[in-house]
Amino acid sequence: MKCVLAIVLAVAQCNVAHAYTLFGVETSDGRRVTMKWPRTPRYFVTGDAVGGVSAADFQAAIARAFARWEAVPASTVTYQFGGVTAARPGDDDGTSTLGFMNHPELDRVLASTSFLVDDTTGALIESDIFFNAAFPWSVAPAGEAGRFDLESIATHETGHFSGLGHSALGETTSQNGGRQVDSAEAVMFPIAYSRGSIAGRTLKADDIAGVSDLYPSADFAGSGSISGRVTNGGKPSFGAHVVAYDLANGAMVGGFTLTSQGDFAIAGLSPGPHLLRVEPLDDADLESFFDDPARVDLGFRVTFYSRIIVVPRGGDSGTVVVAVTPK
């Protein structure tokens, strides 16, 4: 049995947080499995062009975006270019198709990724990405004022294509009814940098940990993890954003408490001492992260765990219980 899951967005808005997430699929027998490609995915591109981006430009930018994920040493993920297709993104035809589509009614959606998943195993069957031709695009190497950088947005969407969800590592401010990114530390942050920026082309520690966790190479065995639980007033906290900060290199990798017991796990960390910072997603677009935003605990302050957590090489820290301070 198969089902279609639609996910996405890289909107001109934002939120706050830090964390990579993996897409989970509930199987027909009630199990929760991680959505990923069982083998190297083959992707096709449409031959469409938009102002400032030819079909060849589009194909090259997409290839560069995929190459960034392939270059992660601790991950085995690879992609194969299949050619140009007449199919459209969103067609459930077993072919992963990437291309421009004009959706002026989606005035906050730059691009969107959808999936066809085997819901007995979580195996990805198809993943399509459309880029909204209603926005101005650019493939200029240094970016172009007034236009969104196709390669940056493609890097984000190809992260989804690979099975990654949104990260919450970023800061935003409200602007014109939407949100503008002031800073972010993950390509998978749900809101894009503003026009002209090419900062979204570079994978960050959070992105690297996420794709490595999903498709681990032998190098990944040298990393470690932190797991534990967050409580608020003695009760489990769901949806708390937990960030592991590496004292040696300043890298941040995040996760969320994703069970009713308030459990979290953050993998792909460099061995060594880390700080844990727990924050509520109090100014985030909760729908970008959770199916059921009403469950998310927002009633606490940013809390630093009082102990330094040492990440072992190839192992887990052991259960860490963080009691956050209620608001």
């Binding site: 900062a199 900060y245 941040m252 910072r277 330094i308 090489r313």
Partner: protein, 227 residues
């Protein structure tokens, strides 16, 4: 330091089975020396970091900043020395201490200026060799012998959860004074005395967050026996 050394010397004299005054204030006799000492190792900054996020133009803005320190601690030090010449002893030395590793967070974008702290205890072992050079020319009293020392040690730091080791070197240099309580030149224990020294310890590699060498002061006061 003088006061502390005097107190230690006085205590040792009281406990010594033979009054020091009854012994000839001759030079230290005995080729081998064994000593044990409490050692105070001063704190060292291990570096500052910022939890940076990337701005739209590729710049960096800190979400918060951290300062990491290995705080001062008192441990124990063991030494075994061999007299090589009238002036020089070669010593094997080891120590054990449990310094606190402390991270201080400041200027969190959302939580405020702080500071917020997190810490753990590190088990720190060192093992290595030192050279002690007696400055006999500076002696004003035959019981007191000033000296300088220098050496290198292997240092191993084990985090609190005992799941991760950090290895590195520790270089030390300093000076001090030995006070001879008793020396009879006969029997098994040929000399008994106390010793105090001040050192600068330079740690490289091992536990750090900035990849630099870090300097700590250290002070040790020991009781020693020569055979």
């Amino acid at each position: 330091m003088t006061t502390r050394l005097s107190l230690i010397a006085a205590l040792t004299v009281l406990l010594a089975p033979v009054p020091a005054r009854a012994q000839a204030p001759a030079a230290e006799s005995g080729r081998f020396e064994v000593g044990v000492a409490p050692i105070w190792i001063g704190g060292a900054s291990l570096g500052d970091r910022a939890a940076n996020e990337t701005t739209r133009d590729g710049g960096a803005v800190p979400l918060f900043t951290t300062t990491t320190t290995l705080d001062a601690t008192i441990g124990v030090e063991f030494r075994f020395g061999v007299r090589v010449t009238r002036h020089i002893d070669v010593e094997a030395a080891g120590s054990y201490a449990r310094p606190p590793l402390v991270a201080t967070v400041r200027s969190d974008f959302e939580a405020g200026p702080g500071p917020f702290t997190a810490e753990e205890r590190v088990r720190q072992f060192s093992m290595g060799g030192t050279v002690l050079w007696r400055l006999r020319a500076l002696r004003r009293n035959p019981r007191w012998t000033p000296f300088v020392i220098g050496g290198v040690r292997y240092v191993r730091q084990l985090h609190e959860t005992e799941t991760l080791l950090e290895d590195g070197e520790w270089y030390e240099a300093g000076g001090g004074v030995k006070y001879l309580i008793r020396s009879n030149g006969r029997g098994l224990m040929k000399s008994i005395g106390v010793r105090g020294d001040v050192r600068a310890i330079v740690r490289t590699a091992s536990l750090d967050v900035d990849g630099r060498a870090h300097v700590s002061p250290a002070f040790a006061a020991s009781f020693y026996v020569r055979f």
